[in-house]
Symmetry: C2
Subunit: 191 residues, 2 copies
DNA sequence: GTCTATACCACGATAGAC
DNA sequence: GTCTATCGTGGTATAGAC
């Protein structure tokens, strides 16, 4: 965290507090206390509480969009594309375990950026579903409702931030492999 | 909703608001406006905002505990036990789509009931993991880390409330069957 | 860049008339 | 059982000294 600007530090600490109590329950006084400052001093670095939320959420949302674009444009099979999406979520979640909480649960408190956020999320879900549909058409994936499949896989991936920090030592590659097996092959033992 | 007491009505409406904005962001004035009352009048039916949260969360948490106890004490195979747990989540979630949001995201704002809630949740997760471990020992389930399996399945089940209301017509039995296939057999097509 | 002081407003909750 | 009025607290944010 060297060479981190004071604004970046505030945003990082705020994300941690938002994960613990949610955006609405965290006050500027809470944030200031954690930063060893007075609340008024925060405003030399950020213009509002809302701005902090916007930076936390939109930064991560854009990473997912960029990642999905890369996966879409590849020539991989659908199963490989899915594995790449799983790896994308493990990577982004592990690098933003606090911010992911705000992305998942505090997006409704966005004001000016609410529309742009919703657009990114809905585009992401459509791309995801499209990959599943292609997989079904190509005979790679079981012909179960793509909606239910996407919901099942994506909610697991979106909740990774709750769970990654609990691992003592985080073997991200191992986690990615285990998740791929479970989400793609299921948990039943094949004989 | 006939024969519903005024207190039950307040709790039901509050759960809906909590799902939309989170416990902290919903004010007693918001709740009163939605109920076509003044905020002060709410206090003739409930003693505090905190009491509303407690009733919403603890009621549902106890349903899951009761359901898990029934599954545990059966003589079913582990796979059948898992299917029963999936059905339990579909049932409880569909009957409490608003309350599930508070259960998942506002439990940290519990005060006196925080400890009891955490105990119920942790017991539930331990029972769930135990069933997976038995399944592995019995050769029914793939020998992947039970932690990762439980995380993957349980986060999907815990997020059902986000998704059930989006279905135009809810065929709960079909949803249960599709989810069982996806979570247990995976999405890959077997040839 | 941080501080003290404070403006202004909304919060949960209570008192007491009707 | 609902209302008006209000209490005490604490919210975001600004002004201006240092």
């Amino acid at each position: 965290m060297e060479n981190e600007t004071r604004q970046e530090e505030i945003i990082r600490v705020a994300a941690k507090l938002f994960k613990e109590k949610g955006y609405s329950a965290v006050t500027m006084r809470d944030l200031a206390t954690t930063m060893n400052m007075k609340a008024a001093s925060l405003y030399n670095h950020i213009s509002s509480k809302q701005e902090i939320l916007e930076k936390i959420i939109m930064r991560i949302a854009r990473k997912f969009s960029v990642g999905m674009t890369a996966v879409k444009s590849s020539n991989d099979s659908c199963i490989v594309k899915l594995k790449k999406i799983i790896a994308l979520h493990v990577e982004v979640s592990s690098q933003n375990i606090y911010g992911m909480a705000a992305l998942n649960h505090d997006w409704m408190h966005l004001e000016a950026q609410l529309g742009p956020y919703k657009k990114l999320r809905s585009d992401y879900e459509n791309d995801f579903k499209e990959i599943l549909k292609e997989g079904i058409a190509a005979g790679e994936i079981s012909p179960i409702k793509p909606d239910v499949m996407m919901f099942s896989i994506l909610t697991t991936l979106r909740s990774l931030y709750l769970w990654i920090p609990k691992k003592e030592v985080i073997h991200l590659e191992e986690l990615t492999n285990n998740l791929s097996k479970i989400l793609i092959n299921g948990i039943i033992k094949e004989n």
